[in-house]
Every structure is written in C-alpha cells, then in structure tokens.
C-alpha cells in the first residue's frame, strides 16, 4: 500500500493539475474535460448500484435527465434563482423521482430490476418528447439564464465564462464523487458489499435489506441528478435525447471498460470514452465502428476492465521480480 | 479399470470443495460414495460428468481422458447421470422426459438383451406407461425418481452415477428403488451410488468410499466398513 506521504503528494499533484488545466490547455479542452467529469460522476453513481450491489439499471438516464430538467425548468421560471439553488433543484427532482420509484423496485430480482428500469426509462424519454409545453420536446429547453455565482456584496462570478464554469463544475462534481467515495468507507458501504455477496446473511444479521437498498437507490438517483444538473448548466440546453436509452447503456459500458466493482474504474472508463470520442470524431467518421469494436474486444479479452488489466500486469511484474 | 478418477481439485469461487479426490470403478460393481452432507459427494459426480470443471486432476473413462469435457461428450461416451433432486423436466410429458434420455448411436453398442428402450421400460415400470401423457412435474416423488432413473437408462449407459436416489421416499418406495438399481446392475451396468440410507448402500455395494470434508477419508470393502465402527462414527454418524 502507498504510505500517507505519497498519497498526499499524489492528491496535491491532482489538485494542481485540475487548477492549472484550463490555463494550459485552453477553452476547447477545458470543455472536453467538463464533459468527462460529468460522465465520471454519473458513472460512479451507477457503479455504486451495479458494482456494490449487483443491480444493473437500464434506465438511469431518467435520473440524469430529471436532474437536468429540474435545474433548467427552475431557471426558466424563477427569476433571479441563485446558481447553487438551481443545482439543488436538479438534485431534489431526481431524489423525488427516486423516492417514488424506490418502493416499487427495491424488492425485485436483478433481471426484473433491469427490465423495469428500462421500461420506466423509455417512459421518461417518451414523456420528455411528448410533453412539449413543459420539456420543449425534441428541441428541449435552451438558452435559459445562467446565474452568476455570488454572495451578495462579497463577490459575483460570471458562469457563462468557460473557465469560471470549469472551476465551479470541478468543485461540485469533485465533492459529489468524494461524498460517494466516503459513503463506501462507512459501515453503510460495507453493508452494501454484504448485500452483493450474500443477500440472505445481511438480512439475517437484522439489517432490513429493502430499506438498505432504498437508501442506496436514493443516493444514486440524487447524484445522477446532480450530474444532469451540471450538464444542463454546462450546455445551457437539455433535450429529450439525453434520456434516450443509449445514455443508460453508455454508463454501464464505461464502468465495464474501467473495471466493474472498483470505485475509480468508472472514472477511468469515462476518461477512455471521452478520449475515444475526441479522437475518433477527429480522425474518422466511423465513431460507432470504433466504439463497437472496442466493446467487443474489451468484453472478450479483458472482461475485468482496465483496473483488472492493471492488476493482471502488476502481478506478472511482481512474480517476475521474485524469480 | 472402467472409470479412474485421479486427484480431482474442484473449486466454487474461492472455496476448495474437492481436494485430491480419487476413486475407481471396475466393470460390473456397485461402489458407494458416502459421507455427511456438504462433504463433496455431489461435486465429485458433477466433476466426473463435466457439470463443474475441476482445476486439476484426471477423469479417465475406458482409457480415454475426459477431464474438463462438456457433459454431453461424457454422457455420449456412456456415462449416465441421475442427479440429486431428480431434475425432471416439469413441463414435458413423462414420455418426452424418457425420450430426452435417448442418445443417438448408443443403443447399438449394447448387447440386445441388455438394451433399454421404451417397451422394456414400460414393461418393467408400468406406472410410467400409465402416466406417459402426464406432465413430469405432476408425478409423485417416488414416480419422479423412477422416471429420472429410466430417463438415464434410455441412453443405455455403461456406467451409472446415481446421486441420493432414495432421498425423501417412503420405506416401500426406498425398497422399490433399491431393487431397481439391483436389477440394473445385474443386467451388467456398474453403478457409482451416493446414498444416505446406509442399509441400502451396504446391501447394494461391494466397495465403499467415505468422504470427509472435501477429501477422501476411507476406502475399502463393505465388510471392512462393517467391521470398523470407529470409521463409521468418524465419517457417517451425525
């Protein structure tokens, strides 16, 4: 294991990197990075559900979408809404949806859970398309005011400036990911792993299984909502397309490519996808082909993902040293 | 040796449920594999038939290596498997269940007087004929056990693996199943039998293997086991 000093050095390096990133790489890559970071939070949240409990959701784009619409609609209708409060609106909308869904889904089997989420996910997508006067349908809601980040009389930072927004997004997304990470280290996190490894035993110990799952479910829905909320602010646009089923699958793929069951795997996976999209869209028209082939290769030859690959090579390296 | 199982090591995930398990079966004999619940008897059978893949060790049948092969390949070579819990196909009729056991090309390899087919099975077990149109799932426990054995017989096996055939049956049915296995063996089919009813096992088998947790504890003839109460106490009594 790394000792404390190296750990602190690594964290500081990461922090410095995040701070100077927009200054070094310019606006274009700053925006690419924000897109990646949003995907990372979203994927980490889904991974909590998938990796730590074995529940596969085919419909979590609805939480992302509801978070995004929550923020956008609040900003359209409430004049002078503070920035942070608009994000809270997104979080709360997603949480509310999760609160309604939780009693329906926490008792289901893994397959039924996946299917019902796909069904409700498609329902949400169709509703977003059809309820035009609320959601704007295909065109979505765009060009809503982006309030500055301010404390009256102290400071006011313009959030339409990409660099400023970058720092704001990094703080919100970073803190969110940190909170989720922290949760995995609490007794509640251990309980989740317990649910995955032996559902019956945890129930036996006196913990209420459905309730435990429900708490986790709320957490995951809420943070997917925050990712959506930041997305809406970042794009200044949210349309029904973001709720399309493919957006539920992509997160699962990122988790898979990064490595299922590890907390940081999804971040890695989101990074790989961001780089891939960037590269393929630049050098070839065949984005789908490249992503398709990569998925096939990963699942056939590296089903444990990049994290698994890392462990694989690390073990080999160490065994060779021992010879 | 008809079947030669050497040093099987089988895992479920991280748990090592067979440790260097070995046994042999010769032509014509009934061999009992005994031990308390959870020792690995079923896993031994599954490792032979190929339903679980051992990490190391060998399964040699009729001189050929079948280790790690697909179950259908092992079954086609002549090993018949009657599983614990019977595993009747509940939605198929009794007749279809029997037909599922037919293995193309195997009947020709057996002497015609020992050959099992639908007629001979119906003749031996008229109750199955009576119920032939009924769904497998509607049979009673005893009938299901009979059907499970007959289904495997339809494939004309040259070696039978039978896992706990009398489990949950009434004393009359236990005797019936016992006699059935005896008949099958007298007709020339060697049997590896896992059985909790010690009386049944001892009355059928000529040799026994006793399993301790995941490994072989004792092997010998029925007489040796009979004369050895400590061994029985160690491996069998609860």
């Amino acid at each position: 294991m790394m000792n404390k000093t190296t750990k602190w050095i690594l964290w500081s390096v990461l922090l410095v990197f995040l701070i100077i990133y927009p200054l070094v790489f310019g606006i274009y890559y700053t925006n690419v990075f924000v897109t990646f970071a949003i995907a990372a939070l979203y994927a980490v949240a889904i991974q909590m559900l998938l990796g730590f409990t074995g529940f596969l959701s085919f419909g979590h784009a609805m939480y992302f979408g509801v978070g995004a619409y929550g923020t956008a609609i609040a900003l359209v209708h409430i004049k002078g809404l503070p920035l942070i409060v608009s994000v809270l609106f997104g979080f709360a909308s997603a949480l509310l949806l999760a609160l309604v869904m939780a009693p329906l889904v926490v008792r289901l089997s893994v397959t039924a859970f996946a299917m019902i989420h796909m069904a409700f996910g498609m329902l949400a997508y169709t509703l977003a398309l059809k309820l035009r006067n609320i959601t704007g349908g295909e065109d979505g809601i765009g060009a809503f005011p982006i309030p500055p980040l301010r404390i009256p009389g102290v400071f006011s930072i313009d959030m339409t400036d990409p660099t400023n927004f970058y720092y704001f997004a990094m703080v919100i997304l970073g803190v969110s990911i940190w909170i989720l990470w922290f949760v995995t280290k609490t007794p509640f996190g251990c309980l989740m792993v317990g649910i995955r490894d032996n559902a019956n035993r945890i129930d036996y110990l006196g913990f209420k299984l459905p309730q435990t799952k429900a708490v986790l479910y709320l957490l995951v829905g809420g943070f997917a909502g925050i990712a959506g909320s930041i997305f809406a602010l970042f794009q200044n646009l949210i349309s029904a397309m973001e709720l399309y089923i493919m957006h539920s699958f992509i997160q699962i793929m990122q988790i898979m490519v990064g490595g299922i069951g590890s907390f940081f795997g999804p971040i890695l996976g989101a990074g790989v996808f961001a780089v891939l999209e960037e590269l393929t869209s630049r050098y070839t028209q065949r984005v789908e082909l490249v992503i398709g082939l990569i998925l096939i290769l990963v699942i056939m030859y590296f089903p444990t993902g990049l994290i698994g690959m890392y462990h694989h090579f690390k073990t080999r390296f160490f065994t060779r040293q021992a010879d | 040796m008809l079947l030669d199982v050497k040093n099987l090591n089988t895992y479920y995930g991280d748990s090592h449920v067979l440790q260097d398990m070995s046994l042999t079966i010769a032509e014509g004999e009934i061999v009992a594999l005994l031990g308390r619940n959870g020792m690995g008897k079923t896993t031994t059978m599954k490792s032979i038939i190929g339903l679980v893949k051992p990490k190391s060790g060998r399964v040699i049948y009729q001189g050929k290596d079948f280790t790690g092969r697909e179950p259908y390949q092992v079954a086609k070579a002549g090993i018949g498997y009657v599983p614990e819990e019977r595993r009747i196909f509940p939605n198929l009729s009794v007749l279809d269940n029997l037909k599922m056991g037919i293995k193309a090309g195997r009947a020709g390899k057996v002497q015609s007087k020992n050959r099992w087919d639908l007629d001979r099975i119906y003749e031996h077990f008229p109750v199955l004929k009576e119920r032939s149109a009924q769904k497998g799932g509607t049979l009673s426990g005893g009938e299901q056990q009979m059907l499970a054995i007959c289904r495997t017989l339809m494939g004309n096996p040259e070696l039978l693996l039978v896992d706990e055939p009398t489990e949950g049956l009434s004393p009359i049915l236990v005797k019936e199943v016992r006699d059935m296995l005896d008949d099958i063996n007298k007709a020339g089919v060697p049997i590896l039998l896992v059985e909790h009813n010690l009386k049944v096992a001892m009355s059928l088998a000529s040799r026994v293997y006793l399993m301790g947790k995941a490994h072989l504890g004792f092997s010998g003839t029925v007489e040796e086991l009979d004369a050895n109460p400590e061994i029985r106490a160690k491996y069998l009594e609860v």
Binding site: L56, L104, A112, F249, P303 | L51, P83, D96
Partner: protein, 290 residues
C-alpha cells in the same frame, strides 16, 4: 356498414398488421432471450440488416420472393456466427457481458450498413401481385398488410410445429427449465443454443423483409421496433410465446387506435400498459420465472 364502423375495422386491421410484425421480431427474441436466457440487444440490428439484404437482393434480381427467402437466412447465418464466436464465450459472465457485447455488435452492424448502403432511405417495391387494395366487408384495404398478417401467422405455425412436434423443440423446451440436465443426458446443448439463435434471428429477418416496403430501409429502422419487441418479451413473460403474441397484438392495437383517439399520447399508452403490468406482476403476464 357505416363509415364509423368501417374506420374502426380498418384501424383494427392496421393494428393487427403492426402487431404481427412486432410479434415476428418479439417471438425470435422470446426464443433467444426468453427461453435460452441470452440477453441480446443485437436482435433489432439483425432485423435491420435483413431489410438491407432484401433491398440488395431486390436490386440484383427484382424478385421479392427471392429476397424473402434469402435475406433472413443470410441474417440468420450472421447471427449464428456471432453466437458461435462471440456471444457464447461471454455467456458465463451473465447478462452484463452479453449486454456490452451485443451493443458492440449492433454498433458495428450499424456502421457497416452506413458504409455499404449510405444513410439514405432506400425504397423496396411491393411485389405486383400484392399491390393494390382489396374490398373487405365494404371497405378497401391494402393487400400487402393482409399478406403480412398471413405471413406472420405462417411463421407462428411453423414455429409452434417445431417447438411442439420435433425433437429439437422438445430439447429446447427442456433446456428452458434445465439446460445443464439436458447437457448431462448427452445432448449437445451449445449446438442447440446456436441453432435457436439462428432461428430467432431468422424470424427477425423475415420481419425485416416484410416491413421494408412499408417503412423503407434506413439505419434507424430498428430503433422503435427493437425497443417494442424487447418490452413485449418482458411484459408477456420471459419465454412465453403466447404472452409475446398477446402483447404484440395489444401493442399493435394500442398504437393504431391510440393514434386515432389520443394521437399525442399514443406512444405513451404502451409504456403505461407495461408499467401497470410490471408493477402488478414483475414476471410478465404469462411469466412464471424471472
């Protein structure tokens, strides 16, 4: 018959035709996903691929019947190859491995189709003998839609015969409840799975050829249909052909009458139906297991 009744009947027939096409796709999926437990998201891609094959055959021979014969078979062969060399190997990983893999396969097929045939809508003609209208109880109705209903019924009967009258069907029905036991009885289960995958894909292929003249052939052809088929299998109950049939027809009718009466909300009707069914009975209408 007055005009209103005629309209009801016409909408009903339209719904029936759409429901039958849905059923062709969904029943293939019932075989593969419902019965064999292989979660494939590539099913819709094969449906689309077969439509393109039929366009190609039509281009070369101008013969619809030849297209109907060849295209689904070629699509089925592609499906079998995918099963044999890719899907089979990830089956042990469970549904998530199959999900990723088949999404990958879909993307590759989608892109290959775009590369070969471009993204334009391609037109496939209805064969001459099926063009025009026929008069049923005093109203005009397109022959081709009746043909689709007949074709789907034919495939349904064919499949029922295979399932309930052949040894292969018996093996499939047995494997649904206990594939390992079937394997241990000496039956080459991997081969059976491969065949079933081929037949299921072939059925989607037939639907693809049948729909091509109505909707034209384009890369997004499978989006709606694939989703609907998937939902049908879940709502009808995993592995239940009759469930798939019932729900296909209900969906077909919901969509045609829905457009008539609540056009705005028509697509949502299916989801509401599905949500209600799944909340009440998570295993689907005729489902017994999960």
């Amino acid at each position: 018959m007055d005009a209103t009744t005629a309209m009801y009947v016409a909408q009903g027939l339209h719904g029936l035709a759409y429901g039958m096409i849905l059923f062709l796709v969904a029943s293939g999926l019932t075989l593969i996903f419902g019965m064999m437990g292989i979660l494939t998201l590539a099913h819709a891609a094969f449906f689309m691929l077969s439509a393109y094959f039929s366009y190609q055959v039509m281009q070369m021979t101008q013969n619809f019947w030849l297209a109907l014969l060849i295209a689904p078979v070629v699509a089925g062969i592609v499906g079998v190859l995918c099963e044999r060399f890719l899907i089979r190997r990830v089956h042990v990983m469970g549904h998530i491995g199959e999900l990723i893999l088949t999404v990958g396969i879909s993307l590759v097929i989608l892109d290959a189709v775009k590369a070969i045939w471009s993204t334009d809508s391609l037109y496939v003609d209805i064969p001459e003998c099926l063009q025009g209208l026929v008069s049923i109880v005093g109203m005009e109705y397109p022959i081709y839609r009746l043909f689709i209903i007949g074709l789907a019924l034919l495939v349904l009967i064919f499949m029922a015969l295979i399932l309930y009258k052949t040894r292969l069907g018996m093996i499939v029905r047995a494997a649904v409840s206990d594939a390992d036991m079937v394997n241990a009885l000496g039956i080459n289960v991997p081969l059976v799975f491969m065949l079933v995958f081929g037949v299921g894909t072939w059925m989607a292929g037939v639907a693809g050829v049948a729909i091509a003249p109505i909707l034209t052939v384009f890369p997004g052809l499978a989006d709606q249909m694939g989703m609907d088929a998937y939902i049908i299998v879940v709502v009808g109950g995993f592995g239940s052909l009759s469930g798939a049939f019932l729900v296909s027809i209900i969906f077909g009718l919901l969509s045609s009458y829905g457009v008539q009466f609540v056009s705005q909300l028509a697509p949502i009707l299916m989801f509401i139906f599905m949500a209600i069914v799944l909340v009440i009975k998570p295993v689907g209408i005729f489902g017994e297991r999960e």
